[in-house]
Symmetry: C2
Subunit: 426 residues, 2 copies
């Protein structure tokens, strides 16, 4: 492969995780080590929008200790967004704008950390650059707490989200057990629009059949209100209390979400969140039991205070691997994770075509749930447990609270006329 000299841009996309910044840290540190090849490393403010708007900042100007502290900082320090560029044939101008910005800033390396939508964008940029003969190396780095990307054993972000949420279920489960003369049912609403990977994995919290969670509902299985009420009644009769975990994306026999707000985002995704509250009210009205719910919402995807070290380290290594592969000429690929052995756990980064990952969804395997579909079996435990191991070290201030990284964000001077204001802000 020919060596390609120029600048690099790194962008983060979609819903943040506890470890997306660890991936960014891997990219930035590895890219800055290759000064002979990669002349400057830029961050794109607010994901792909930052590139479209030529809103870039110089990551080389950031103090190295703030870059290192990314591994202990949740959310998306470079900035993120949800913005879809549209199909290449109908929205070619968007993609051409990206290449125009790349060209204006001598960008030859594009590292994009995100989910399947982002891998689709990266794939299109890669293909357009090839078609136009623009020398560009595009590498994706997987990110999603949902763990539903194709072409990888698992996704950075998943292990940390599960570790925190499962611990919360254990803790709130002990609360319910202690308070069962007062509270009878608790429902945890887990993230997961299309798949039950997160909800199901909270099943690891249950080390004994009497412990929480007693019932888990995932989007892969059609939800039945009458079966749900039967399930809760049965557990309640046996124990005197019942702990339920439900995926926000569960749908009933008519294909409807159990509860949905009115809004639909740009991707056609409904803004979910309401299943826990809905079911707690159903339990009250139909079974006459006292029911409460918890809904961690974005707290569940950013919990660096109890994040998995395995997950964080893999996120960081994925970032470094992206740079290493791009430097030797690879493009149009996403860094994936390959589990070589489970005991002891050993996992190596590899490569998969962006096109394989783009827009696909990997459902939770039915065979990892029990016969009733409301509990998990050893298959899922064996798969998930290694991903939760270890605690990510964080920095704590004299006030007992975490200390996060914050960038200076030294702007890269613009070289192109601006896009219309308001573009992409909604």
């Amino acid at each position: 492969m020919s060596s390609l000299t120029g600048n690099a841009v790194v962008a983060q996309s979609g819903g943040p995780t506890a470890v997306i910044n660890a991936s960014a840290c891997g990219v930035i540190e590895a890219a800055l080590e290759l000064r002979g090849l990669i002349t400057a490393v830029y961050g794109a403010n607010r994901g792909i929008l930052g590139i479209l708007h030529e809103d870039l900042f110089d990551l080389g100007a950031e103090p190295p200790e703030q870059i290192a502290l990314l591994r202990a900082t949740p959310a998306a320090a470079i900035g993120s967004c949800r913005f879809k560029l549209g199909p290449l044939d109908t929205h070619r101008d968007n993609y051409e704008r990206l290449l125009k910005v790349f060209d204006a800033h001598d960008i030859r390396y594009f590292f994009y950390i995100g989910g399947n939508d982002s891998m689709d964008t990266a794939d299109k940029v890669h293909r357009l650059a090839q078609a136009q003969g623009y020398p560009l190396r595009v590498i994706g780095i997987a990110k999603t707490i949902d763990n539903d990307l194709l072409g990888t054993d698992h996704c950075p972000g998943y292990g940390s989200a599960v570790k925190h949420l499962a611990a919360c279920v254990m803790e709130a489960g002990r609360d319910l057990e202690a308070m069962s003369t007062f509270d009878q049912v608790v429902i945890t609403e887990a993230m997961g629009r299309d798949t039950g990977w997160i909800a199901a994995a909270t099943g690891l919290a249950q080390r004994h059949p009497d412990e929480a969670p007693h019932l888990i509902y995932v989007p892969e299985i059609t939800f039945s209100r009458s079966k749900f009420l039967d399930d809760v009644r049965t557990v309640y009769r046996r124990l005197g209390y019942c702990y339920v975990v439900v995926s926000e994306g569960v749908k009933d026999e008519t294909g409807q979400y159990l509860a949905a707000d009115d809004e639909v985002d740009q991707f056609g995704h409904r803004q979910l969140g309401g299943a826990g509250r809905y079911l707690s009210r159903l339990v009250k009205s139909e079974l006459g039991l006292k029911a409460r719910y918890n809904r961690l919402d974005t707290c569940q995807r950013n919990a660096i205070h109890f994040a998995s070290k395995t997950d964080s380290d893999e996120a960081y290594q994925s970032g470094r691997e992206a740079v290493r592969q791009a430097a030797v000429g690879v493009s149009g690929k996403m860094v994936n994770l390959n589990r070589l052995s489970n005991d002891p756990y050993h996992c190596e980064p590899g490569l998969v075509d962006l096109a394989v990952v783009a827009n696909g969804v990997r459902p939770l395997p039915r065979e990892w749930l029990d016969a009733a579909g409301t509990g998990i079996n050893q298959g899922l435990r064996t798969y998930v447990a290694p991903l939760l191991r270890g605690e990510t070290p964080i920095r704590i201030g004299p006030d007992g609270l975490p200390l996060f990284s914050r960038f200076i964000r030294r702007a890269v001077p613009r070289r192109l006329p601006p896009l219309a204001t308001g573009f992409g802000t909604k």
Copy 2:
């Protein structure tokens, strides 16, 4: 003081915390060390209900390592309840039943870990025993995440609840900042029925005025919908996003909760929870901004996975101190915490009359909020910060999740005819 030989009973009451078991551990370990004085140490299954129903188990039969592990176990391992015995003059039979059970089991020491309702019960038991000439030493140990007990600098349980919730606000705040082209407003609903101690203390998460939380609403200040909307609009115009923390117990100009479920518990307390959801909908409908909310509910009072070591150690010491004081003849007192200096932080346990604590509530001082009443000042920071310091060590299993203590619960044989079934189960 004369030395008093006999058995001890320890009970936990009310909503659990991350460290109420640390207090139980202190009581149990200290009591078991005094075998010459305290012959046996019993746990009351489900708080005061366990005593009424003569449902006791022998804590001396528990493995010492499971007792020690209480310091890393959330909720209430002995069992808890919400059950009010009623006024002494009208419900004297309840109190006499307690003394009858005590007498049947040679109970001479009663350690009650709970909030103001529990201290009221303990006080009545203490007074009735005195009036009847029954030799009994009654000591309360403070417990509440709400931090609203009179007669103490602060309450075990508070520091840990704040440490976890403030970290969650920092984390979800970074998420909002990164996603501000997509999400504009996030609302965290904090526990706190009568006081804003928890909600206000999440203000420590804000190390810079642009960081979350930007606005805090506490029950001590009457809530105005129009002022709230103005506040959010102002922050949104300045930053492009706005993070709000609201106490569940906030009330409007008419004295109504912002949103309340229909149920009222036995204490006349409404079951709260709904303020966050309500305000997120208000922001959407009135300001047209995208708003989401999180509601940790019981997850926020049990988060041993990021609990304060200062808090946990004080909870444990309070338990030990209760036994030490009872052994030398004290009764009718609660162990309190006295801050001797703040820099360095130094705090010593002391004693306060149960009657001082019983049923009173200590509001958040207005002078620790800013002029607008929606932010905190240095006074609150100085008060809270030491309470959050250090992380409670926990045990983690090979699956990356916490390992909690679990009791054998070897029953103490009953010696009295049973109460009517169903008594106290609601």
